[in-house]
Amino acid sequence: MRVLLVEDDTVLGAGVRDQIKVEGHSVDWVTRLDEAGGYIAAASYDLVLLDLMLPDGRGLPFLRELRKKGDVTPVIILTALDQISDRIDGLNAGADDYMVKPFDLAELSARLAAVARRYAGNPNPLVTIGDLEVDLAARAVRRQGKLIPLTAREWVLFEGFVQHPGQIISKAQLEDHLYAFDIEIESNTIEVHISRLRKKLGREKIETVRGMGYRLGEA
């Protein structure tokens, strides 16, 4: 999942960025709304984490403007404004969730996953794919009850397929999904991760659609 973090506090931003990275997602971190607008225009994000009080303006008008343009990217508000009326305003402006600072990073990860699942049209955290049982909330894959260990990158890649069953996902989309702007990646990185996933889960679980990309296997 590719995440845009909009947070002006550098110490908090660094902590949140590191947490999201460890979960295997790619993060772009900006500290101003004008930068955030530029990033959203340039790339497709799966989620935006938005602070409400930024040096160049308030987050709510920014969010309203985003929704007015028809952008449906899930947005979780991260804010120090803790009143329920602030929260109602935030949700009315088009936010998908609202987290009051200070928050546990584990809770942030859980909410992040929940929002992503909701947008993938599958709010149920337990999914069965052939002989595999996938627990999206616990980030675990089991075969006949036995846990199959995946690295963070492998999990995020696989989660992307699970959340878009039947859809063809291009290599470029997968690179976007996995890596932020500032990371140089090798041309065959995606192939390497796909290959490792197939070894662990079974070759038929990820199909190659020649010239177009990959999709989740039906078997």
Binding site: L12, A80, D82, V100, P102
Partner: protein
């Protein structure tokens, strides 16, 4: 003398006493005036009578033979004698006297005119160059009685009219002070949080400046409290971000550290940061609950607020669950949504923290807005129940929590003219704890 506290009683007392005193003074002046006039009339009558009797008596004495004895004038019929007289010759010998005249009461003649003794007022006159003198007496008691009867005639109505006057004044004042009582009652029933202006529409013109001064004071107070509230809110914001940053870095440290000692230190920092956050959050909540009007500008749906609060706590650091029983339709209330959320959050946190891990916390909202939060767990003794809404009260020292949660809810209940009921055991249970927050009354 201590005056009564009631303005109405004071006015009735003052006006009643004034009317009584004025009446008494008027009666005394009237009596004195009448007495003076009566004395003049009586004196004139005495003088006139003497001057009428003396010539007649002298003529009769000339015609009658003087045998050396006094003639007694007999009466036609028995009656009270108010005027008695005697006629003497130059030597003082009594020649003639009225039938009831007591000689002891008639001092010898000295000169014409009035003389006053202990019992009588006397008038002396003479004829034939002083050969005959008349002394006519009237008892002082007669005049005193006339004066007393006059005073009584003026005073007696006071005993009947004064209570009637006081009653009339009481009723009139009661009616006229009605708007003032309404003003007082409106202020008296308010909680400390209600700073809305008082209605001055029905007040008398003399009281309106006072009511306007009260309203101006309330407005100033409201502005001050709003400014404090704004400060509390800003302070909360300023404090939350650095705490969030420290907590995020600490939790990253917990994940990345491999050394057991470092992990332990990070755990300790995390505990302290969370405690710091909890305490500052409670103090801010208390400041907000006490800080201003708890009446919202428009009604809000309590169901939506409860879902949000319960949703927040679902991710919290606890094992037990929340069981929500909410109406299918919105429950609208005029209570400030932030205040209700603060109250609900504190009740739920309290139940999750102190309740049994095995049983869910039951949250029930009625259509009328009554909120009940109940949890399983040990029974709280009645003497401890009473103390739970006191600030920094904990059931025991080992209990986690700020000791402010229920006191914040109590402040919100008071501010919204609601009622807080605390029961242990909970209703229909043999154990547990239950708090009922009744609907706000605005």
């Amino acid at each position: 003398m201590r005056l009564p506290h009631s303005l109405q009683a004071r006015l009735v007392l003052a006006i009643g006493m004034s009317v009584g005193v004025v009446w008494v003074i008027s009666a005394l002046i009237a009596t004195a005036t009448i007495r003076e006039k009566v004395n003049k009339v009586f004196d004139s009558a005495l003088e006139e009578t003497a001057q009428r009797i003396l010539p007649l008596a002298v003529q009769e004495l000339f015609e009658a033979e003087d045998d050396g004895t006094a003639q007694l004038i007999s009466t036609l019929r028995e009656h009270d004698e108010f005027l008695v007289y005697i006629i003497r010759d130059r030597s003082g010998r009594i020649l003639l006297r009225s039938h009831d005249a007591d000689i002891q009461n008639f001092p010898p003649f000295e000169q014409d005119g009035f003389v006053k003794t202990d019992k009588n007022i006397l008038y002396y006159d003479s004829a034939v160059g002083g050969d005959f003198t008349i002394t006519i007496a009237e008892p002082l008691a007669h005049r005193n009685e006339a004066a007393r009867e006059t005073l009584l005639a003026l005073g007696v109505p006071l005993f009947f009219l004064l209570p009637l006057t006081i009653g009339g004044i009481w009723l009139l004042l009661h009616f006229m002070l009605g708007p003032l009582r309404g003003f007082r009652d409106e202020l008296a029933v308010r909680g400390g949080q209600d700073l809305a202006p008082v209605d001055t529409g029905r007040l008398p013109a003399e009281i309106i400046p006072i009511a306007e001064a009260v309203n101006a004071l309330l407005e100033r107070l409201q502005r001050t409290l709003e400014s404090e509230r704004g400060f509390a809110s800003n302070a909360a914001h300023e404090l939350r971000t650095p705490v969030a940053a420290a907590l995020a870095q600490t939790q990253r440290l917990q994940s990345e550290a491999r050394d057991e000692k470092t992990i332990q230190r990070a755990n300790n920092i995390e505990i302290s940061l969370k405690r710091l956050n909890r305490m500052s959050e409670k103090l801010m909540q208390m400041a907000r609950a006490e800080g201003g009007s708890l009446r919202a500008e428009k009604p809000h749906d309590l169901v939506q607020i409860l879902r949000m609060v319960a949703g927040d706590l679902a991710y919290g650091d606890h094992d037990n669950q929340i069981q929500l029983t909410l109406p299918d339709v919105p429950v609208l209330s005029w209570i400030d949504p932030d205040a209700f959320a603060i109250a609900a959050r504190n009740l739920l946190e309290n139940a999750l923290r102190h309740g049994s891990r095995e049983m869910p916390v039951a949250v029930d909202l009625q259509l009328d807005g009554t909120l009940t939060v109940a949890n399983a767990g040990p029974i709280v003794p009645p003497e401890d129940l009473k103390k739970l809404t006191h600030r920094f009260a904990r059931q025991n020292r080992n209990t986690r929590g700020s000791g402010l949660g229920l006191s914040i809810v109590q402040v919100i209940a008071d501010g919204s003219r609601s009622k807080l009921e605390i029961n242990s055991p909970a209703t229909n249970r043999i154990d547990g704890f239950e708090v009922i927050l009744y609907p706000a009354r605005f």
